[in-house]
């Protein structure tokens, strides 16, 4: 009896579906036809297909920012959007060269303890407040106060005071010279904020940010999109763009699409114009499409396998080095990463100062036999099942990593490579925030992680012993390395500073708190309808010059 009732249900369902389809096409038809007709009539024929002012450029956003206060908690969403709304004192380009931005010029005192900036006199915030020395002092005092939540507190640590010398002059006073100061104030998190807006809005500033950038916040639909509109008064574009004035386009929109495949689908459907591509399969697909602009971005990033050096047996340098010998980085890149990257042979990303090709000669090579020999040296004996045992404990580990592709594939490949020498590996994939939390608490064996930073100070951030419990999640501590890091922080000469990092790396590569795996190639795909988008440093896409090509 029961099955007969299915038939009317299914029929009803089909009927409803058909009606829905009919309704949709019926709605679409009358609205779509007249508008396109009107547009065609209004526009001179020769303008068709060329770029015009106005229009919207939409970028896909993987993670929606919790807020757009530069001094609030950092995140990838903030990193993308903040540079559109806020300008910084100086601009650090992709080759790590400094350029004037809101500051016209700057001077460093003889002893390196005072840096004086001369500000542009003609800059105003979105709310009309003039951008002057007081605003800069306000910004940095607030930044240092709230800095505990920010990843860049270190770069400002030595500041004793920020002083407004006159209307357009600001002096930063330091306890001792600070080498990371310039790269820090070029970060989006050091964007200059409007003091009047902060006073008026208080906590709400994170939802209604006011800066001096080429775009200002227009609307924010939580979980859906953030739309910025052009700042018509803009006249202080950074070094990398030609158009120093207001953007040509009307608006920049950011659509929250957490999933990479959905982002690709939205891109192909023309719903978004800019996506970040981190999967080989997606890249292959986009290469076949006509008109898509694929551009490589500099993120100074490195993917590494970080040990919890506070936990046995990974506190043993021989064990760490043994595991490093078991890893075939080339195969890892070719297979798990689909060739979209280069094997890494040192701790510093090749685009950062302190990278030295000569160091690669010291890198641990792929040699499974050597790996086994080192394990034997470390006191392990191989059991009948091929596993390694010391004091009754089997050598095994869990690799903790995020769910972001291609981490799962990379971890799977590492698992297979380590299994080949008899080390069983489990994989635990959590979302990025949970990984960081777990790793900071030291509740893990090995983590597969990636850094991307605009300064070689990144090694200090992740491996300096004064950062244990915060960003040094390897719990690595070597006084000799710390001593070099302390020197790098004071060294203002770029060449000498880079050399210090080379020295630090020599020690790190002996200790192997990390196994450097590969440098990912980061690709951004820009739709053919967007022209002259400029790729800036650290994955920024500058839209100051961008125009939208209207296609008929």
């Amino acid at each position: 009896m029961k099955r007969y009732t299915h038939i009317p249900t299914i029929t009803a369902l089909i009927v409803v579906l058909l009606m829905a389809i009919l309704a949709m096409s019926a709605c679409a038809a009358p609205t779509a036809a007249p508008t396109s007709g009107e547009e065609a009539a209004a526009q001179p024929a020769d303008l068709a297909g060329t770029s015009v002012d106005g229009g919207v450029v939409t970028r896909a956003l993987t993670t929606e920012p919790s807020g757009l206060d530069p001094h609030g908690p950092p995140g990838s969403g903030q990193n993308v959007i903040l540079p559109y709304i806020f300008d910084t004192l100086i601009y650090l380009d992709g080759d790590n060269a400094l350029h004037p931005f809101l500051a016209e010029s700057w001077e460093i005192s003889e002893d390196g303890r005072t840096i004086t900036f001369t500000l542009r006199p003609d800059v105003t915030f979105h709310d009309g407040t003039p951008m002057n020395a007081d605003a800069v002092v306000f910004t940095f005092e607030r930044f240092m106060e709230l800095g505990g939540k920010s990843p860049v507190a270190g770069g400002l640590r030595n500041i004793t005071s920020v002083e407004a010398v006159d209307e357009n002059t600001v002096a930063f006073h330091f306890e001792e010279p600070s080498a990371t100061f310039f790269s820090t104030i070029a970060l989006p998190y050091a964007g200059i904020i409007s003091p009047t807006a902060v006073e008026q809005e208080g906590e709400e500033f994170a939802r209604q940010p006011v800066g001096t950038g080429p775009f200002m916040l227009d609307s924010w639909e939580p979980g859906v999109s953030i739309t910025l509109k052009r700042n018509p008064d803009y006249n202080w574009g950074p070094a990398d763009v030609e158009n120093k004035g207001a953007p040509y386009i009307d608006a920049a929109a950011f659509k929250v699409i957490p999933d990479a495949s959905s982002q690709l689908a939205a891109f192909q459907a023309g719903e978004v114009d800019i996506i970040f591509v981190n999967q080989p399969a997606h890249l292959e697909k986009l290469k076949q499409e006509e008109g898509v602009q694929l551009q490589e971005m500099v993120f100074n990033s490195l993917v590494y396998l970080g040990f919890n050096t506070s936990r046995a047996p990974f506190d043993d340098v021989n064990v760490r080095r043994a595991l490093a010998h078991a890893i075939d980085k080339q195969a890892l890149v070719d297979i798990a990463v689909g060739g979209v990257g280069q094997p890494a042979c040192q701790f510093m990303a090749s685009t950062l100062p302190g990278y030295d090709p000569a160091l690669c000669a010291d890198d641990i090579t792929y040699d499974p036999e050597q790996a086994k020999a080192l394990l034997a040296e470390a006191g392990f004996t191989q059991t009948d099942q091929g596993q390694w045992e010391r004091d009754g404990e089997i050598l095994q580990a869990t690799i903790l990593t995020s769910t972001r592709p291609p981490n799962g594939d990379v971890a799977t490949m590492l698992q297979a490579q380590l299994a080949a020498i008899g080390v069983p590996i489990e994989i635990q994939q959590l979302d990025s925030r949970a990984v960081l939390k777990t790793a900071t608490a030291g509740d893990y064996d090995i983590t597969l992680w990636r850094y991307g930073w605009n300064d070689p100070d990144v090694l200090n951030i992740y491996l300096g012993s004064d950062r244990i419990g915060r960003t040094n999640r390897s719990f690595y501590s070597n006084p000799a390395v710390d001593e070099i890091f302390a020197q790098t922080a004071r060294e203002l000469d770029p060449k000498a500073r880079a050399q210090l990092y080379v020295e630090a790396q020599k020690l790190l590569m002996q200790d192997m708190p990390w196994i450097p795996l590969y440098e990912p190639v980061n690709i951004i795909a820009i739709s053919g309808r967007v022209q002259d988008a400029v790729i800036g440093p650290m994955g920024r896409v500058l839209l100051n010059d961008a125009r939208v090509k209207e296609q008929n």
């Binding site: 029961k2 495949s261 399969a281 798990a336 769910t403 594939d409 971890a411 698992q415 994939q429 959590l430």
Partner: protein
């Protein structure tokens, strides 16, 4: 539920336990092809699970990088993945996981659900009231969402997925058993059993429970399918199986990114999930028709 018409004491104990005659179900099955299709699909699933080591051409985790991303061929009927692992082997071992996980989850849900349901339905009164209200509150939570929260709390793995889905599945079994027990315990043969001094436990286990087996079998069958789908769903969003486990949902998630370039990666696990769930549902529906309304 059929009501035994004869005075129970005059019939043997077997007849008391199974008051339905055997002839009627058989006649019904002939009119329900869904039962046979379902039985075939579910049988195939169990066979694949059982014989995976024999049927699979390679171990499921064997990487052969030189054979990566091969389209389906005679050698690799379901193709190979980005590591050159044979997809047929992975899907077969995935069947193993699917069967194990589904059975474990349903067992975890059914045992406390049925036990508490019998208790509540048999004893009536405040035991029933308290248990039923707790279960009502429990059921008010959206099931899969609760599972997601639990897994997020406990860390993703297949065992936490089993635990979470088992916990949220219990009330379904409770409700069915309780209502059956409520109506069943007022029947004459139960009263008779009580009147001759059969202990409560024995009454429940020997007389009450067997009489509600057919609706329970239907519910278990339908639940196996639903669980399989839920586990795959959790694995699909990364909250279930961890690599390299060839769980179908995880395989499907991995294959999704290659839909245009390597369609076979998503097709095989997708079909496996679909056919298995359809199989359980058809079998469940068929059994319901064959065994009479529950």
């Amino acid at each position: 539920m059929n009501v035994p018409t004869a005075f129970p004491l005059r019939r043997g104990r077997r007849a008391m336990a199974r008051p339905r005659s055997a002839a009627r179900p058989r006649r019904r099955t002939r009119r329900t092809p869904s039962l046979w299709i379902g039985a075939f699909l579910v049988g195939a699933l169990f066979l694949a699970a059982l014989l995976a080591p024999m049927l699979a051409p390679t171990p499921p985790d064997l990487m052969q990088p030189e054979l990566r991303l091969q389209p389906p061929s005679l050698e690799h009927p379901f193709g190979t993945d980005i590591f050159g692992r044979d997809m047929l082997s992975r899907v077969l071992y995935g069947a193993r996981l699917a069967v194990q996980v589904s059975i474990a989850t349903v067992t975890l849900a059914a045992i406390p659900g049925i036990a508490l349901g019998l208790l509540a339905g048999f004893h009536h009164g405040w035991t029933d009231q308290v248990l039923a209200r707790i279960m009502d509150v429990w059921m008010a939570f959206p099931g899969l969402l609760l599972a997601v929260v639990l897994v997020a709390r406990l860390g993703p793995s297949l065992s936490t997925a089993i635990l979470a889905l088992g916990v949220i599945g219990a009330p379904t079994f409770f409700r069915l058993t309780r209502s059956s027990a409520l109506s069943g315990s007022t029947l004459l043969y139960i009263e008779a059993a009580r009147s001759v001094g059969v202990s409560n436990r024995r009454t429940i286990v020997r007389h009450l429970l067997p009489n509600m087996l057919s609706p329970l079998i239907v519910l278990v069958t339908l639940n196996l399918g639903a669980t399989l789908l839920a586990v795959s769903g959790l694995s699909f969003i990364g909250l279930g199986a961890q690599p390299p486990q060839p769980e179908w949902g995880a395989l499907l998630a991995a294959g999704r990114d290659y839909m245009d370039t390597a369609w076979w990666l998503a097709l095989a696990p997708g079909l496996a999930i679909t056919l298995s769930v359809i199989g359980f549902n058809l079998l469940g529906d068929g059994l319901r028709d064959a065994l009479g309304r529950g």
